[in-house]
Amino acid sequence: MESATTKKTAKKDFRKLILEGYKNHVLEHGTAPKSVFKFAKDLKMKEEEFYAYFTSFDSIKSAVWIQIYEDTISQIESQEVFKEYSAREKFLSFLFTWIEELKKNRSFLLSIYGEGSKGMLSLPKEISDFKDKFKDFANEIILEGKETEEIATRPIISDRYDEAMWLQVWFVFKYWLDDRSPRFEKTDAAIEKSVNLAFDLMGKSALDSFLDFAKFIYQSK
């Protein structure tokens, strides 16, 4: 019994040790470690011990993204007003808080994604776990937005709204990487403007009246 708990805490620490060790290595050297073997050795552990927690360096990076995401969610959910927010405001609140969490890891993220980020066209694969989680969150917002009619239901297109919101998250990330304004105020402005545009597009608009009319003309031919 006794030993089981100690083992568990020891286990947890190992995972953390690897995570922190990886971040430190990137921060200090500006690049990822050369090999798992070398990295494990620096941390004074055996290579196979490393694999007990992570399958590759990519899975460490993935864990960092998940951590940031989860910290963001617990932050916004701790705010009283969050429950009262509209869908648009919830998404804004997510992005504003997420950026604050990213800030805590800025140097690390810059080392990895900063250089040549303009060429970062395809999504790095370590992001995909975060993307999946975010999409779950986005779909909750979308569902709620549809219920309150803040978001219009449109054939085919509205199934892709979560993807559109994800693209926005990624846009904000890239914008923030290049942002040199004090307190990243420009990123705040970019979030505000892009989310407003997105929700205006997703909301009921002339587009819907147009689709409705087009359908009518088509059917009554």
């Binding site: 927010y85 105020e185 705040d188 402005a189």
Partner: protein, 439 residues
């Protein structure tokens, strides 16, 4: 050349703009109280013929690129209510709102960044949406300890984009104001400096406090108290000033006595700042004043404060003196110091410009030449416009390739224009006090 001329003729020059023009180029850039002119900009009675539509659309195109501080400069520079035809009005109004109000999550985030708390964590109540939108921020109402408070929050990124916005506004300014590049650069530095100051809310509070404590003795003025613990360089918390904006108040048909009382309070406020403090609330547009119960004048928004250098002060007001008893040499020196004339001028030019500026300043100085002045006298304003007309059509001015009037003049002219305009709107008659040496 022909092209140039056509442009110049095609851009309608309103009375106010003309007036400004002659008050020195500085006033052209600075002297505008039509800051919130977008909505009122178009005079419906304006003849379409007056406006070359190509030019209008060009101007609109420049305007629509404006945002944040550039918009503010454009507003400052435009002396003209008749600038755009009605068709462009809506577009422009949209351009102005291209910065929509801050979302509540961003307000929350700004609070957290600066105070580590949400607005709810600080105040007993806080309006979720803004009560008033201003050009670089928005105002919410809050309560704490039973007190009603105004909380002004700046849009993010405004301070950072001042310089780039000013570059944006350059071509527009050149065209609209009919200035050459040299003239414009002469003032841009001053405008940029002032705009940057306007985005620094810590400085604004400091100055508000300073001026309001130094003007506290003036009758019928009310100043809000500022709260440091809920303020930062992007947020200002102060007392809520209950009351009506000048225009709303005038709609309630106040008595002449009331109007004179408000007018006098305004005059006294400016008198004390200019002549005793030598620093002045340089943004006398109607939105920055609130009339309270009992004809008290509430003063908000010390974003723009101009410190008046001593030598500029002496030269400028020496010219306003009723009887110009100064010797020719001295006068030359003053004109020279105020940059109305320079070494680059020919003798003929010097004589001409001295004459013009003397005439103009003595006209502007009229209220100073009597003990009591009736600002309801539209004839006075009419004469200013006429002189402006005459001068702006004069070829000596058109030929001149130099900026005239010192950069300090920019804000001082703007201030006096604003003050006179306000007093005219009020139709007030006031005791035009002046320092002993000016009598």
């Amino acid at each position: 050349m022909a092209e140039k001329l056509r442009e110049q003729q095609a851009i309608p020059v309103s009375k106010v703009q003309r007036a400004a023009k002659f008050i020195s180029t500085g006033a052209k850039v600075g002297g505008n109280y039509v800051k919130h002119y977008a909505k009122k900009m178009v005079n419906p009675s304006m003849d379409k013929e007056e406006l070359h539509s190509n030019n209008a659309s060009d101007i609109y195109n420049s305007l629509s690129e404006l945002k944040g501080s550039a918009l503010k400069v454009a507003q400052m520079m435009s002396m003209d209510k008749n600038l755009l035809p009605r068709a462009y009005q809506d577009k422009f109004t949209m351009a102005q709102y291209s910065a929509p109000p801050l979302s509540y999550p961003l307000v929350v985030k700004t609070f957290q960044k600066h105070f580590g708390k949400t607005p709810e964590g600080i105040f007993e109540s806080f309006t979720r949406s803004a009560i008033n939108a201003a050009s670089i921020g928005q105002v919410h109402q809050a309560t704490k300890d039973g007190k009603k408070l105004a909380v002004k929050i700046q849009y993010p990124g405004v301070a950072d984009s001042v310089s780039s916005d000013l570059k944006l506004v350059r071509p527009f300014a050149l065209r609209l104001l009919n200035m050459n590049e040299r003239e414009l650069d002469h003032y841009m530095a001053e405008v940029e400096e002032k705009l940057l100051e306007e985005t620094d809310y810590v400085l604004e509070i400091e100055r508000s406090r300073e001026i309001s404590s130094e003007c506290g003795h003036i009758p019928n003025l009310k100043f809000p108290i500022y709260y440091d613990e809920y303020s930062s360089d992007r947020i200002i918390t102060m007392d809520w000033i209950d009351g009506k904006h000048l225009k709303e108040w005038l709609e309630t048909n106040p008595s002449q006595k009331s109007k004179n009382q408000i007018g006098q309070a305004l005059w006294d406020f400016y008198h004390h700042q200019v002549h005793n403090l030598k620093k002045v609330h340089a943004d006398p547009h109607p939105g920055n004043f609130i009339v309270q119960e009992g004809d008290q004048l509430g003063i908000i928004d010390f974003g723009c404060v101009k410190v008046i250098p001593e030598d500029f002060y002496e030269g400028y007001f020496a010219l306003i003196k009723k009887d110009l008893l100064i010797k020719e040499e001295e006068l030359n020196q003053i004109f020279y110091n105020l940059e109305f004339i320079s070494d680059k001028d020919t003798a003929e030019e010097q004589v001409y410009f001295k004459g013009v500026f003397k005439e103009m300043i003595s006209l502007l100085g009229k209220p100073f030449h009597v003990d009591r002045f009736d600002f309801a006298d539209d004839g006075f304003f009419e004469r200013i416009f006429q002189l402006g007309d005459r001068i702006s059509n004069d070829k000596m001015f058109k030929k001149s390739r130099q900026a005239r009037g010192s950069r300090h003049g920019l804000y001082i002219n703007r201030t006096y224009f604003g003050l006179y305009n306000l007093l005219n709107q009020l139709q007030a008659e006031v005791d035009t006090t002046k320092p002993e040496w000016l009598k």
